[in-house]
Symmetry: C2
Subunit: 136 residues, 2 copies
C-alpha cells in the first residue's frame, strides 16, 4: 500500500501508525495509538503520532471522528457507518445499520445561509463495561 500523496514522504513512522490504526477495531485517541505504536518503535514521539493522524485524515486515508468528548478519536475504516459513544468512558463503537435517509430529508431544510458539507449522527449510551462497573 502507498501511504504517500502529493509531496508527502513515505516514512516508517507513518506506515506503522497507519497499519496500527487499521489493525484496531476500536477508535483510539492519539495517545492510545501512541502506546500501541511504541511497542514496535519505542522512540517514536507523541507529536509524530498527532501530526500523522491529522495528516492522514486530511488526505482521506483515515477518518478523524467529529464526535463529542474532549479527546480526538480516529478511525481506520473510512466506509460510511455510524458510531455509538459511551458517555461514561468516551469509548466509541461501530453501529451497523442501514443508513437513514438523511440526505433526502435535508432537501426540505432551511440551513440559514450555511454551505452544508455533511452531517454526523451519533448514538449515545453506556457501554457494557461501564454498565457492569457503575451501579446506575
Amino acid at each position: 500500500m502507498n501511504t504517500s500523496s502529493g509531496k508527502l514522504r513515505n516514512t516508517a513512522q507513518r506506515t506503522i501508525i497507519l497499519n496500527a490504526l487499521r489493525g484496531l477495531k476500536t477508535h483510539p485517541t492519539a495517545d492510545e495509538l501512541y502506546e500501541v505504536v511504541k511497542k514496535e518503535m519505542p522512540k517514536i514521539s507523541l507529536g509524530t503520532v498527532y501530526r500523522n493522524l491529522v495528516m492522514l485524515a486530511e488526505i482521506g486515508m483515515i477518518r478523524k471522528l467529529e464526535t463529542a468528548g474532549k479527546q480526538m478519536r480516529f478511525d481506520g475504516d473510512i466506509s460510511a457507518h455510524v458510531h455509538i459513544r459511551c458517555s461514561r468512558c468516551g469509548r466509541v463503537d461501530d453501529i451497523w445499520a442501514d443508513p437513514i435517509s438523511i440526505p433526502e430529508h435535508m432537501k426540505t431544510i432551511d440551513f440559514r445561509g450555511y454551505q452544508v458539507t455533511g452531517y454526523a449522527l451519533e448514538y449515545e449510551g453506556i457501554c457494557p463495561d461501564c454498565a457492569k462497573k457503575g451501579m446506575n
Copy 2:
C-alpha cells in the same frame, strides 16, 4: 423564576448566568458567556460561569451541547431541535426541521450491548460569515 432545585442555593451569579444564556440566540462557550456576564457583574469569575453552566445542565434547565469541537457550548433552549456547526469557526446555529424518524429506526439496530440513552444529529458546514471571509 426559581433557579434552585434541591440543595442548590439561589445566587445572583446563577440568575445572571441563566438569564444571559437565555437572552442569547447563539450557543456560547463558557468564556463567551463570561464576557457577556461580566458587563453586568464585573467581579464574577470564569470558574463560577463554568460551575453554574455544568450544574444548570445537570438539573436540566439548560443544555450542554454534545457537539464536536474542543470547547463546550451551551444552549438556553431545551426544546428538541437540531444544530449546524461551522467547521471553520465552531459557531453553532439552530436548524428548524421536522425531526427525522430516528427513534423508529433505532428499533432495528444492534447496539452491541450498549444501553442507548439518546442520539445526536448534527449538520456540518461553513457559516455565512466564514464563507464571506475565506475564499474556498
